[in-house]
């Protein structure tokens, strides 16, 4: 995907002026409430006309004030998933899903509906009335509806912020799986760093109508470590589960990890917060922690309150945080050896 945007839009008391290019398939727009994220999205989708500038998607010019080009929303092939789903209330789930698909020429239908429906796990909902869906189901159907319109780019405007905590984590896997399987470029809008981390690779940081920064999501997450006490979420791909009675063992690359057996063992992605990881100089003894991984410090970096430490654990990367004093106490510097210690219950399944 190639997206180039250079537009301006003035409202009374607010001005949005953005100029950027994106190539990654998984991009995000990150910014506080009122920073202009929705305004930007509406201009991309053709729901709001910029005062000046151009918008180009791949080799198509969507908008060019000078040249007098302004493709209408329906011709842009830019899909939108809204915060509150906005499923058509007078149609069944099935009709909602196929609304977009039925409106594009057959030869351009590059998504297999059956497959998408099974990936989203909405097979059983097809004949339901939209009013009878739960919040998470609604967002899955909304996502399916947008994808089935075979867009060249999907904009997701805080699709999770209307859902409560648990639901959010049930829907993220679907989102990730869909974008992985169907490889549709997306622009994910959110003011949650956590969602950003899970969904995107590159982010535009917006503030006050301007693009303040453009960087990899990883970098953003590392920089923001310690802000609001959230820490950094390490995302681990764990495989080959083994049932050890009360515990489960998984393999993280070559590293064995212990997890609490709160669910059926199954490979997948798991989260480990930097806040839950202790560093020791030597392998500690007689501890309740089940995971003690010898690591080599790859690098350290300063954040506002803490020091971030990137560790190499037999080829895997893990990020933790320590207070500045520990740097010297433990002799943490690139190349030194440390032991990362955390409890079995510290590792949580993402999906």
């Amino acid at each position: 995907m190639f997206l180039h945007v250079d537009v301006e839009k003035k409202f009374e008391g607010f001005q949005c002026r953005v100029d950027f290019s994106l190539q990654s398939e998984k991009c995000g727009v990150f910014g506080p409430s009122g920073s202009g994220k929705t305004t930007l999205m509406h201009m991309l989708a053709g729901l709001l006309q910029p005062d000046r500038g151009i918008i180009k998607l791949n080799d198509m010019t969507l908008f060019d004030r000078e040249a007098g080009i302004n493709l209408p929303a329906e011709a842009r092939r830019v899909g939108v998933v809204f915060q509150h789903a906005h499923l058509f209330p007078h149609m069944s789930v099935k009709k909602n899903l196929f609304y977009g698909l039925n409106r594009i020429p057959v030869q351009q239908r590059n998504i297999d509906p059956e497959h998408l429906i099974s990936v989203l796990q909405v097979e059983n909902l097809l004949n339901r009335s939209v009013a009878k869906l739960s919040g998470g189901e609604r967002q899955r159907v909304a996502l399916g509806r947008t994808i089935l319109a075979c867009p060249h780019l999907i904009l997701l405007d805080e699709p999770l912020s209307g859902l409560d905590g648990m639901l959010k984590y049930q829907i993220i896997p679907h989102l990730r799986r869909v974008f992985a399987e169907f490889s549709i470029p997306m622009l994910f809008i959110s003011h949650s760093l956590e969602e950003m981390r899970l969904m995107t690779e590159e982010v535009l940081v917006m503030n006050n109508g301007l693009i303040e920064n453009q960087m990899s999501t990883e970098e953003l997450a590392r920089t923001k470590l310690g802000c609001g006490g959230r820490g950094y979420t390490n995302i681990l791909r764990l495989e080959s589960p083994e049932d050890l009675g009360k515990l489960l063992s998984y393999r993280w690359g070559d590293v064995p990890l212990m997890l609490v057996k709160t669910e059926k063992p199954a490979a997948g992605e798991f989260a480990l917060n930097s806040r839950d990881i202790l560093l020791f100089k030597k392998h500690p003894e007689a501890t309740s922690a089940r995971n003690m991984l010898p690591c080599i410090v790859r690098k350290t970096y300063q954040t506002d309150w803490l020091v971030g430490v990137e560790l190499d654990c037999q080829g895997n990367t893990i990020i933790t945080e320590i207070v500045p004093q520990s740097l010297d106490e433990l002799d943490v510097r690139p190349g030194s050896e440390v032991v990362a210690v955390f409890k079995a219950s510290a590792i949580q399944r993402l999906y």
Binding site: A45, G46, G79, F88, G100
Partner: protein
């Protein structure tokens, strides 16, 4: 109460025919005007609104008279239509137009309220899904305000059934041709002993519109249950 005479039955048929035609014809126009008033920002909305509401404000006879001036053979629109051999006055067409004009403000107001209640994001969603504006109109906008359209339609239909003043001026009171129920009632009241016949027709009129309103309510409940 007297049973209904063949002329009465004819008047009932004509009434239904006029009310139905007027409603069906006014519906698309009424929708368009309501759309303009509710969802767009065109200049002169206030003036348009005023004109739409005129028939509500003016005595129907005056409305009829103004229509006569406009559509009569010497009226500028009537003259134009005359070139195509289309005659409005003293025809059922005239009765339809009179009914349509008088019921129009009720129709527009109902639909307008419905349109104003639609969340614009549904419309935006359908556009980004590739629907052109008319596609969105028919698949999203209209279905979403179907209850309001229904309410407006039944209201207008009922009003048309009772239209008298404008009709008698524009279409005349010609038994079997343009004589609808209200005109027949009027005629009976000028006939010795016609009161009971007038009453029968009144009752028919009441029953008809009760039926329409009830059907409307039922359909409304069904729509709301969806």
């Amino acid at each position: 109460m007297s049973p209904l005479s063949p002329e009465d039955l004819l008047a009932i048929r004509l009434s239904l025919q006029v009310a139905l035609t007027a409603t069906v014809l006014a519906l698309p126009v009424g929708f368009a005007v309501a759309y303009l008033l509710a969802l767009t920002n065109v200049r002169g909305k206030a003036v348009l609104e005023g004109i739409v509401n005129l028939p509500l404000v003016l005595p129907p006879v005056v409305t009829g008279y103004l229509l006569l001036l406009l559509l009569g053979r010497n009226g500028w629109l009537g003259h134009f239509l005359g070139l195509f051999d289309i005659r409005i006055i003293f025809t059922l067409r005239g009765a339809v137009i009179a009914s349509a004009v008088v019921g129009f403000p009720l129709l527009v107001r109902s639909i307008r309220i419905g349109l104003e209640g639609i969340d614009k994001q549904y419309i935006q969603a359908s556009r980004t899904l590739g629907a052109k504006w008319w596609d969105t109109l028919f698949t999203i906008t209209i279905p979403l305000c179907s209850r309001a359209i229904l309410a407006g339609t039944t209201l207008m239909f009922a009003r048309s059934l009772g239209e008298f003043g404008a009709t008698i001026v524009l279409a005349g009171n010609m038994p079997g041709v343009t004589q609808t129920i209200p005109l027949a009632i009027y005629q009976y009241t000028s006939t010795p002993g016609g009161d009971s016949m007038a009453l029968s027709l009144c009752l028919v009129s009441i029953v008809l519109s009760f039926a329409v309103l009830l059907i409307g309510e039922a359909a409304n409940r069904k729509l709301s249950r969806r």
